[in-house]
Symmetry: D2
Subunit: 380 residues, 4 copies
């Protein structure tokens, strides 16, 4: 199988977020503005806190691209953390910490506790700086880069929020023609009335120092048939996509197509029957969410994912001091009250990584011109 190898690096209040991506074909024209557009979308959304006012993320490309064209070498993406200036005294990579304010009370729901046990730290800051969802900014950049290749062969990516707190859109009533309108909602919900109710749900949580999670849906249209494979468990697209989505901070579940509701439907009603019109194959439903046998089947790829409420609360939870073992309330760190709209942007871009990987595995090649020609000539 083809492999897009990438590593993301960077702490929440460190100087930079950086990623290096190798395995992308040469000869493809990159649009940096489209990457920045996704970065900006990620920073928006009703319920975000103060940091988003400090940061205005823009990616710099430092290698692998010459005059906007990929040259096949590893691509370095970098985002400056503007907030680093306020944290230099404690977060400098080399110089000693002159602030000397250790974080010693783990926040329930966060990596804090398991992190200090694992790494033997006496300062939880060493954990939270990397476990923070700030890292998703650079992951969005990687995804937004990969996405451009797939968009170039006609794929379309959509994400929208279907639930925040107890407020949800009726799954059966989703108007898929409205997907593009998600961006005009502060909560990325395509139903205007529900959008407003979701805002209220967030307001309510915020007003009591609480936080709230939700569910979002990602849809990818116009993928060729036969991406991924049933040949080995780790080549199934269901496996690959899940590993990426459940690799996003705070995501606690994923489902494809009808997902958990599939349990209730019998085979007769669940499976997407074929019909033929003028020698072309159609389906009358898409309960499988576009994947059969771990491969794309020509229908839109549809996943839902759930995000837990943000674990940092301005009205903090019960915890303890890691040295004294005394019960105390948890450490406070600047926080949002809801990040589901942002998470939907993260997922909408990140999903492009395994999809491009299986696309390149099928169409191979070192040079995008050749790959695209193969795709067009050998089309199913």
């Amino acid at each position: 199988m083809s492999k897009i190898n990438f590593i993301t690096a960077g702490e929440s209040h460190g100087p930079f977020l950086t990623a290096i991506v190798s395995g992308l074909p040469a000869g493809f024209k990159i649009d940096v503005n489209k990457i920045n557009e996704q970065l900006h979308k990620r920073q928006q959304g009703y319920g975000r806190g103060g940091r988003m006012k400090i940061e205005k993320d823009n990616v710099k490309i430092l290698s692998g691209v010459r005059n906007s064209i990929t040259i096949g070498s590893p691509i370095t993406l970098q985002i400056k953390n503007r907030d680093f200036d306020n944290w230099k005294d404690t977060m400098d990579p080399i110089l000693p910490d002159t602030r000397n304010e250790k974080v010693e009370i783990p926040r329930p729901g966060h990596a804090d506790y398991a992190g200090v046990v694992k790494y033997g730290f006496d300062d939880i800051r060493n954990v939270l700086e990397r476990s923070s969802a700030r890292e998703t900014a650079i992951r969005v950049a990687v995804g937004a880069l990969c996405r451009q290749f797939l968009e170039n062969i006609g794929a379309e990516f959509f994400g929208h929020v279907t639930q925040i707190g107890k407020i949800s859109i009726d799954k059966k009533s989703i108007d898929y023609n409205l997907l593009k309108s998600a961006d005009s909602s502060s909560v990325r919900c395509i139903n205007k009335d529900i959008s407003e109710k979701m805002e209220r749900e967030i307001d309510e949580a915020k007003s009591v120092g609480d936080s709230i999670g939700g569910i979002f849906q990602i849809i990818v249209k116009n993928l060729p048939i036969g991406l991924g494979s049933y040949i080995h468990w780790d080549e199934r697209l269901s496996s690959k996509i899940s590993s990426h989505i459940l690799g996003i901070q705070a995501i606690k579940g994923i489902e494809f197509g009808e997902g958990f509701d599939s349990a209730k439907i019998t085979g007769k009603n669940y499976h997407d029957e074929f019909s033929v019109k003028e020698e072309k194959i159609f389906r009358n439903s898409n309960n499988a969410g576009g994947l059969e046998g771990g491969m794309t089947n020509g229908e839109p790829l549809i996943i839902n994912a759930v995000m837990k409420p943000i674990p940092t609360l301005t009205n903090p939870l019960k915890s303890f001091h890691i040295q004294t073992k005394e019960e105390m309330i948890a450490h406070k760190e600047r926080t949002d009250s809801c990040a589901v709209p942002a998470a939907s942007i993260v997922a909408e871009n990140v999903i492009a990584i395994p999809l491009l990987e299986v696309f390149l595995s099928r169409y191979g090649g070192d040079y995008w011109g050749t790959i695209k020609k193969r795709f067009e000539n050998e089309i199913n």
Copy 2:
């Protein structure tokens, strides 16, 4: 990170299922009977069809183990397909096909259609033989092998069925003391009344040539704190476990702890607060399902997964002929009407693979004696 590398091989009606597993420590005493026990459990369950009467799976170990002790070299596991004798004339690896009965009508819900598009086959048998869930037998053997290492340091693995069709156990009323009783239910449900209703649900589907899916839960107790990591998305246990579970045939979703219901609960009520008793850290809830920041946090690891209804129906669905493009009803292949209990066994064993991987990554070492001593001496 440490890496257990394994490849499974074998077709549904080929001569053997084989797996080679590398990366397991030397000096560990294997109990083959315990592997076979899991293989036998996988073959049971209300709703299985005729093949389970032909096969009685037993694993043979062909390398990597000497006198029942691992020696560090790659371990070969092999299961003979007794049914191969009935399929030799068409499935022989080398000799030509003398039966000449091509499968040419794809089954909706199966890998059939995308498979032939992908690989250019004119016989769907080349797809279905490998995409079949028969492969899970050898994957269970790999998992049951890995599981023994973790059981040796005190971990306990449980799986039970919580929903079949519309019949489900009340998630809030699960009596976790009864987990071991799942094995005495034909549907692996720990509630006797619900078990019977589930059997009826299966009977009903079967009586009309239909099939039915369901949901199961896997629980792993007594894992040390700090397995997995927040350091990179692909080292999060949530990511690793999901890739394995969604790599199982017919699984369409996974959730950790409260999972999709987390959307409805505010942070205050969702996050698992700490309390301290006699210098020991406790939690008063486990909504996170034992993972925070992608790491084990000392609470039981809990996942739910959903299996779609089996796509091969004795009353088949609408399809078409891959050569003539004429509409036809789908190909029939011997089938079960419900495989959810079996799937719970597959998942219960397969989950041990990524868990052992992160355990070895933390405790390292080439020799089990050393690893175990480290685990005991350095315990959190």
Copy 3:
């Protein structure tokens, strides 16, 4: 990059050697006889000991191939160790050792000493059974399988012995038209006179219970230009090939083209200048051995590799007892006195693995028909 994933398994006196290979395209016709032919060649050669009379290796294909055609699923290759019957009492994977003859004196030059230190064994047999070059039999099978794909697009593989002990063929006088004649020499040397001298060199070593190593050359012709890449160190073919060749037991060095002699030649005389005839590009020399920038450049790929003398001597070396730490002479195990001709066969086949890997990375595809068509249409 594309990835042929394979694991070999099996002990020298265990029941079977097994390998599983994943990542090979579907739709390719395998010739098992050609694999067996390589296995038989590996077993020959002047200087082999008694075991070669017991074993007559033949591979069985247990999966991934149907009616001699690959179907894209992982391919299981298996070779029965006939000698296992004589070793059952001590080597049975499951049953206890009833022979009870521990090996406790490490052989200098072998894995014995570092192996027991590493794995904490009290019986060196646990090391030597896997470190033995017997494992190369199954690795030859993997290589001979991969080689068929490349031969199908015109590549030709050659191996011949250029030195045994102090007897060597003059590197500058190699008649490359005679490469095929290597098989008719008992030492795989293409010069008849030198062949005889090499036999005498082996006789001499054998007569005093000693052993002898040597140097061989592998040549691969007709590879397309541009396999491998300068993009990252681990994608350079020089890196990939070296990792495979230095992964063969007893190999202590590799060089490409002029190799170590390149130090002596200035750039002016070393680099292979271009010339053009009728719009076609030619070289007037091949000092680089067919690789520039880690990529194939259209010239024959040429490597030399050196094998140390076999470390098991019938007139054994000074050693010690691992328990008592007393000085003793080393353990004896049945042995050959020279295995250089066999090693040349191992290398000649094993080199096909990274070469096919980079070929598939360039031409991609799931189906051999498509891949071959791409290769033919897009040819440089």
Copy 4:
């Protein structure tokens, strides 16, 4: 096996060289000066050209380290290319090329020709910018980082030049007590007379626009026994080290210990016999170069590697124009006449990467304090 995952990025005249390294333990104190020291050494050496006067490499650490202590997260290393300012008009990642001077005549010996064939470029600059050995600067930084961990447990790394052109040090007469003196020679040769002759050899090549290669030796002392493994070909240290060393630009061969000379020595004289003194195990020779069965055996690890002459000549070779296919002399690019001393620095640092990888695989752990304690307590 444990895995240090790293990707290097950057073009020769691009703005930055960047690497991200993941898999290093937390809690280790980094000395950046020691990384810079290696970078500076790489830039020296008799025979370097003009660029070395422009660049004075210094690494910046942008993530994964806080107050000089590793925190377990991926480490970003970055070196600014000062020369970029002179190349902005053609090398800008995003802005169009305003210089418009395509390189269209491939240099024999370089990646140029195969590179354009592979990637379909019309400007060889897209190849040479990445294939250039400038990339080794950042790879030295990665190696110098890994090396610090091993030095912390007592390992010592040495490199020295043994041959330039026809001038070589007598292998048998190497005084291993003088290894540290290599740094005081402009050609990194530990023999003062030979050093001067080597300088003359370089002068001579330079004076006629020619270039010259050579051979260097790397020695690593005080590694624990049992690093690497015979278990699988790709876990042998010989394989891992070779893949790293042959992954360095212009390296055409590697040998361990006696290397190619091993062919001439019989087993009796080649293999390193054991002796015992006061219960301690000794060797009387080290022909194996510190590796048996692909594992460290307690003796110094010794390799030799050969570098071909630099392919860019100020008196260029015969080539052709890639568009017109007319014969022409090759493209000129600023160049050195000998880079063997620099290559020895590259190899001396790069070798630390696979060595640390196998060390961590053996001693595991997330936290350096724990790892070191294990190493000390469990020592052989």
